[in-house]
């Protein structure tokens, strides 16, 4: 009975979200902003798998977002103008990087884990900064094309938006599946109690590593779409502040809920767009939001919604 009601209310919620997503570019201040919101929503949901479900505070996820963006962008600029192949390249690069960073960091716990992920992300940032010939260095990678995709002309912003929407919707659905799978349930157990999870037979580090790789994969997809959206890869995609932003989205929205980080991404991106009309110190504002979320309303936006009910 309750299961029926909850699955029906979930169907309604998903329907409403999709309807909003379809209408979104028509009510957003401009269409590219709508795409940006979706891209960061995917990034935040990918990140939530690691932070909210596996309990790992990565401060290096800019690496996977940025490498996805550069992988896609460089392929499209220098090799072959195909969107699917470009995105696949970005995915391959970011997934490999997640494997590598994950392998090196996963055995560490708490703040040590966080510092190792940050260190690797900084390393990728400096490589991109120095390797001007490949990445454009400080100026970013210019002139990323959006070649025709079969019958679909990705040139107009509205077309790109719906392309992004389909990929983001499918990805988010997959991540929902992951957190409600046997694997996802195991992640939640080891987040709750590392030793107990070991003592009932789980190779905790292996689960952490797989979660990290899945998260890197979807973060890379978000990055690849970002390169298409901007026609350009800014070096800032790899900057530590991008890692910080996704942490803030996740926590402000309510980590460990997937829906929360989506709301967090929507709120942060829209707010950034509004506030940047008035002030240059966006990071200061974001810091304040973060403090409010951590101190004032634990559980983030999702926590507030539950509390009101």
């Amino acid at each position: 009975m309750t299961e029926n009601t909850s699955s029906r209310s979930r169907a309604i919620l998903i329907g409403a979200l999709l309807a909003m997503a379809v209408l979104f570019p028509h009510i957003a201040p401009y269409q590219a902003l709508a795409s940006e919101v979706l891209i960061f929503a995917l990034f935040a949901v990918s990140y939530d798998l690691v932070l909210g479900y596996a309990g790992m505070l990565s401060f290096g996820h800019a690496a996977f977002f940025g490498l996805g963006a550069y992988g896609t962008g460089i392929f499209l600029v220098k090799m072959y103008p195909s969107v699917p192949l470009g995105l696949l390249t970005g995915l391959a690069v970011s997934t490999l990087a997640a494997l590598f960073v994950g392998y090196a960091s996963i055995r560490r716990r708490g703040i040590y884990f966080t510092m190792v992920t940050l260190a690797f992300a900084q390393m990728f940032y400096f490589i991109a900064f120095k390797w001007t010939g490949l990445t454009g260095g400080d100026d970013g990678l210019q002139g990323v094309p959006r070649p025709q995709l079969g019958p679909l002309d990705l040139g107009p912003e509205i077309n790109l938006y719906y392309f992004v929407l389909v990929l983001v919707a499918v990805s988010v659905a997959l991540i929902f599946r992951v957190v409600n799978s046997p694997f996802g349930k195991t992640l939640q157990a080891l987040r709750e109690n590392h030793n107990r999870a070991m003592s009932i037979g789980y190779d905790v580090d292996r689960f952490r590593l797989i979660a990290f790789i899945i998260s890197g994969f979807f973060s890379g997809l978000a990055g690849g779409l970002y390169a298409l959206l901007l026609h350009f890869v800014p070096l800032s995609a790899l900057h530590w502040s991008t890692s910080g932003e996704v942490v803030v989205m996740s926590i402000t929205g309510g980590m460990g809920t997937l829906v929360g980080p989506i709301l967090g991404a929507v709120a942060i991106i829209l707010l950034r767009d509004v506030i940047s009309n008035y002030t240059e110190s966006w990071n200061l504002v974001m810091g304040a939001i973060f403090m409010a979320a951590v101190l004032g309303f634990r559980g983030g936006i999702m926590g507030l919604l539950k509390w009101r009910r």
Binding site: R177, V178, N180, S181, P182, F183, G184, K185, T186, Q188, A189, E192, N193, N195, R196, M198, S199, I200, G201, Y202, D203, V204, F207, I210, I214
Partner: protein, 268 residues
């Protein structure tokens, strides 16, 4: 006696495996030793665990929990080793030892606090399956796991608490859940570290009944401070004192042992 048998087998070159199955010993240790800096927490312990309830007693700091940590891979011995069903398991990580059938509970309640009681047990049942790595199916599709979970919950008396968040359970029931999580891994040997500590008299009775029921199916190693409980429930008792086995035998024999009375029981 047991030691004599062991030595005879060793000298005649018979493999340890044979000696063990012959003797009904499921787990044994040989000269197990663990130092923490200058402190020798476990000192040359030879232990043989067979069917029934085998209690480990000893004053605070005797090394009981350290012994469990050595048996379950949470600590590696400095010397000596642990054999389980004829295989050396010392040096293996905790999850590998669990996968071989050794389950344990912890002295300080160790559960998945934010998950439901049902999920606490379900995830432990699921741990036996390769499907735990599957991230593309729904966890609800593992119907056998759900059935087994319900069965375990009723065995430990938590069938009416399935939807409760674990941290909201009354303390005594949290201890039962801790045992339930251990049983859910379908073990062949269960190690319980002070399962009744801090528990009300009424809950203690329940937990003791539960332990008695478990020991009819599986060998149980029990760390317990209450000497009345130990004397009534145990088939075998090992007394640890400063990391050394001070005495070992059936309850009546240990109770009457003078050194035990001096070193341990007298202190109570």
């Amino acid at each position: 006696m047991a030691t004599a048998i062991d030595q005879k087998h060793c000298h005649s070159g018979v493999t340890v495996t044979h000696a063990i199955s012959h003797d009904d010993v499921i787990l044994s240790t040989e000269n197990l030793t663990k130092h923490f800096g200058a402190l020798t927490a476990i000192n040359g312990v030879n232990l043989r665990i067979g069917p029934g309830v085998h209690s480990i007693i000893g004053p605070n700091g005797a090394g009981k929990t350290t012994l469990f940590n050595l048996l379950t891979g949470f600590l590696a011995p400095d010397s000596g080793h642990v054999s389980y069903r004829g295989e050396r398991i010392s040096g293996l990580p905790p999850y590998a030892i669990s996968q071989r059938g050794v389950a344990r509970s912890f002295q300080i309640t160790s559960i998945f606090a934010e998950l439901s009681v049902f999920e606490n047990v379900r995830v432990a049942v699921q741990s036996r399956l390769k499907a735990s790595y599957n991230f593309l199916i729904s966890h609800r599709s593992l119907k056998d796991v759900e059935r087994k979970t319900a069965e375990i919950l009723s065995r430990v008396g938590l069938e009416n608490w399935a939807d409760t968040t674990a941290k909201n359970l009354p303390y005594g029931l949290q201890r039962c859940l801790d045992i339930g999580i251990s049983l859910a891994t379908d073990p062949s040997l269960v190690l319980l570290d002070e399962p009744t500590s801090g528990v009300s008299r009424e809950d203690t009775t329940n937990i003791l009944q539960l332990i008695a029921a478990i020991s009819r199916r599986l060998p149980v190693v029990l760390i317990e401070h209450n000497i009345d409980i130990v004397l009534s429930i145990s088939d075998m008792i090992t007394v640890l004192y400063q990391g050394v086995v001070l005495a070992e035998g059936p309850p009546a024999q240990v109770r009457d042992d003078e050194r035990v009375q001096e070193a341990y029981l007298g202190g109570y």
